[in-house]
């Protein structure tokens, strides 16, 4: 079934939200680099390949507080890579306007915790632009990048995971990479996607995660989850930095003979329901894990959708291992976080239900 009448043949079917249908597996060769370098490479390529791409935000000119934008201003000039004053609402609104004129606006919000003044612009202006103008206008060239998530000592305002707020907004895409190679490909795909995208980067991994990343231009598909590990007893779903916690849990629980299937959701909306459903049909059990507080977190959406689709197949209730329902604490961070041990306990409880 296609809806060609509404411009460009949007087909409703499997995996219809990806920006392209060819899935190229990037070659394994590449230099080992960390997350901020991978993002830096992606931004260099984005600005190189599109003369109407701009990168801006607070302090991006000298390279940014996490060095993701190093070298961009020197290479592409201050007219394309520039600092903004301290005003998130202004940055977002300005980016939407720039994108509405057909440019690729890559705005940075310095920490996801500061994104709330821009929330109105993103939700009310960016997400609904194409819809309310009957497709006359759109801000598809908009990409908002923001470091999110715990970093060990960030406290209330440098550790938040606000992805769930944005997942509630039709018209936006929310993408979260788990590693440098993923980040580069996903970020390039987001920048070139013709919908506004919010791209959250796990700040804990900026220096910690090192992976071999190909140097050329490549994209990874959006709205496609990736099965990182095959398993048969339980499906674990996560995104961002939480995946490494889940991976460690998988390894440990394998010693007890429990085989876990690990899925990286990658795009949170529109999310790849088919892959997760197929996996749960295989294993019969699901565990979702994220850093954001459990109540109303995106795990709730996954849980409800899978319960709808796989009710009779489920052997146990869907488990959610998430942050506690408190503001992100300062000294209590180790208690708050969905740690490996909490995940282990839940896996065992679910498997032995």
């Amino acid at each position: 079934m296609t809806l060609r009448g509404l411009g460009r043949g949007i087909s409703i079917g499997k995996r219809c939200f990806s920006s392209f249908t060819e899935v190229e597996k990037p070659p394994m060769d590449g230099k080992p680099i960390n997350l901020f370098s991978a993002i830096n490479q992606a931004l260099h390529i984005a600005l190189e390949t599109d003369p109407r791409a701009y990168v801006f935000g607070e302090d991006v000119g000298f390279g940014g507080v996490f060095r993701c934008t190093t070298g961009l201003a020197d290479r592409f000039g201050r007219n394309r890579v520039f600092n903004t004053p301290l005003c998130e609402q202004g940055i977002a609104g300005f980016a939407i306007g720039l994108a509405a004129m057909g440019n690729r606006a890559i705005a940075e919000i310095q920490f996801a915790d500061y994104i709330y003044p821009a929330f109105d612009q993103i939700v009310n202006e960016a997400a609904k632009f194409r819809y309310r103008s009957g497709n006359q206008f759109n801000c598809g060239g908009l990409t908002i990048r923001s470091p999110y998530g715990a970093v060990g000592h960030g406290g209330h305002y440098h550790s938040q995971s606000p992805e769930a707020f944005f997942c509630h907004v039709p018209g936006l895409k929310v993408v979260i990479p788990r590693s440098p190679r993923q980040a580069k490909g996903l970020l390039l795909a987001c920048i070139r996607d013709s919908n506004p995208v919010v791209f959250f980067e796990p700040k804990w991994l900026y220096r910690l995660a090192v992976e071999e990343v190909p140097e050329h231009d490549y994209m990874l598909p959006l709205s496609q989850a990736e099965v990182i590990r095959q398993g048969s007893d339980i499906t674990l779903v996560g995104w961002g930095a939480q995946l490494s916690v889940l991976e460690h849990a998988c390894d440990e629980v394998a010693k007890d003979g429990i085989s876990c299937e690990l899925i990286d959701l990658r795009t949170l909306i529109p999310w790849d329901k088919e892959t997760v459903e197929a996996s749960v049909r295989k294993t019969g059990r699901l565990l979702v894990s994220h850093e954001a507080p459990v109540t109303g977190g995106f795990g709730a959406e996954i849980s409800a959708s899978i319960a709808e689709r796989c009710f009779l197949r489920l052997e146990a209730p869907v488990a959610r291992i998430c942050g506690l329902d408190t503001p992100f604490p300062l000294v209590y961070e180790p208690f708050y976080m969905p740690t490996k041990n909490k995940v282990l306990d839940a896996i065992k409880a679910t498997v032995n239900y």
Partner: protein, 399 residues
């Protein structure tokens, strides 16, 4: 460009700094033994005259007693010592998270306190350690909070950026830049209702001056004649961005447009006191006023910022030499013979000892109880259920 502008202002300032000290007719203290004499009132000129926007600035002759000058010296020395100690504690990893130090800006905190009462409210952003002390906070409470201990002013749950003191009208301690200004205007609104002749000082920085919410709050305050004083602590750098790169108009005292403003030398505690006194009187009669405190921070934005990549070491040491708030008061005290140099040195030693004691005491204090993670999310007795890692394992009822 900021460097040269600053250099020219410091050289003019340094010229003016010498003026009051070489003009004996202005002060009466030479004729009387000043130490311990509470009746003497000294008239001292501020380093630079005030500049007004849509308002007649107050006189630059400030009255102060020797006792007051002494207390200024002491209070600022305590603040300075506390911040330096916090620096070492942070490097020793006893303080974690973010730590934004105020050394260099002490005159603003101390001068403001001298002009107001504890029933007036102060609200500020995250560079709040010294304002907390100024409001009557104890060193032990400050260090405990920094180290995340139970005896901290926010029970160890806030950290460096979230100091509060309800009894003294200190509304904290806020992480999101600019968000405290509309809050401050709200406090002033409540004060206007209560008719108790109190005001609110809402502090923000030059970085926050470009936040939209500030102008929204300013408009509302002006419309409703709220007794709020917006104080821009202009230390010329928003994190690493110099003011001229972030603001079209770095004359923050003029940014209120229809709201009058005053530019004050924020390194001169007497100027700050005079300006705050003037502002309080104005706000109670006529509504909001903006004070721009021209000040400087010696440390970087936070402990993660060396503070030298966007400004020269010469600039920092220049300000330290020419405009340091504590040195200025020391010179005044020495010139007016209120105390001798060695007495002042003794005080500084005593302060150092006090600070060390407070740190030792704070270190002894225990971490908050793990159950406290759930307390104060909602009001006590709400009884709502929260789930932790796994519904079956961690289920708590919020106290």
């Amino acid at each position: 460009m900021a460097v040269s502008r600053l250099a020219s202002s410091t050289s003019t300032v340094s010229k003016l700094l010498l003026r009051p000290l070489s003009a004996p007719p202005f002060s009466r203290s030479f004729s009387e033994a000043a130490a311990g004499d509470d009746q003497t009132v000294l008239t001292i000129e501020t380093s630079v005259p005030f500049t007004g926007h849509k308002i007649d600035p107050p006189s630059r002759s400030v009255e102060a007693t020797p006792k007051e000058l002494f207390s200024f010296f002491r209070d600022m020395a305590v603040m300075r010592r506390m911040e330096i100690a916090a620096d070492s504690l942070y490097k020793a990893k006893l303080i974690r998270g973010f730590c934004h130090l105020y050394d260099g800006q002490e005159a603003v905190a101390v001068g403001m306190e001298a002009a107001i009462t504890k029933r007036d409210c102060i609200i500020t952003a995250y560079r709040d350690h010294c304002i907390f002390l100024g409001r009557g906070g104890k060193l032990v409470e400050a260090f405990s909070e920094l180290m995340g201990r139970r005896t901290g002013c926010s029970k160890g749950k806030g950290g460096s950026m979230h100091f509060y003191k309800k009894e003294a009208g200190f509304y904290g301690g806020h992480g999101i830049v600019g968000a405290q200004v509309p809050l401050g205007c709200g406090l002033a609104f409540a004060q206007k209702y209560s008719k108790d002749e109190t005001v609110t000082f809402a502090l923000y920085g030059d970085g926050a001056a470009n936040q939209g919410q500030l102008f929204e709050a300013l408009n509302i305050s002006a419309l409703w004649d709220l007794p709020v004083i917006l104080v821009c602590e202009n230390n010329h750098y928003g994190m690493g961005t110099a003011e001229w790169r972030a603001s079209k108009s770095p004359a923050y005292y003029k940014r209120g447009d229809y709201v009058p403003g005053l530019k004050v030398d924020g390194m001169d505690v007497l100027a700050v006191k005079q300006a705050c006194k003037f502002a309080k009187e104005h706000a109670l009669k006529n509504g909001p006023i903006i004070l721009e405190m021209d000040t400087y921070r010696y440390h970087g934005h936070s402990m993660s910022d060396p503070g030298s990549t966007y400004r020269t070491r010469d600039e920092i040491s220049g300000i330290r030499q020419e405009r340091d708030p504590i040195e200025r008061v020391r010179k005044l005290i020495l010139t007016h013979e209120i105390a001798s140099a060695s007495e002042l040195k003794d005080i500084e030693k005593e302060i150092r000892k006090k600070v060390d004691e407070a740190i030792a005491q704070a270190k002894e204090s225990p971490m908050p109880d793990p159950s406290e993670i759930f307390s104060d999310v909602y009001v006590k007795g709400y009884g709502t259920e929260v789930f932790g890692a796994d519904r079956k394992e961690v289920k708590a009822v919020l106290p």
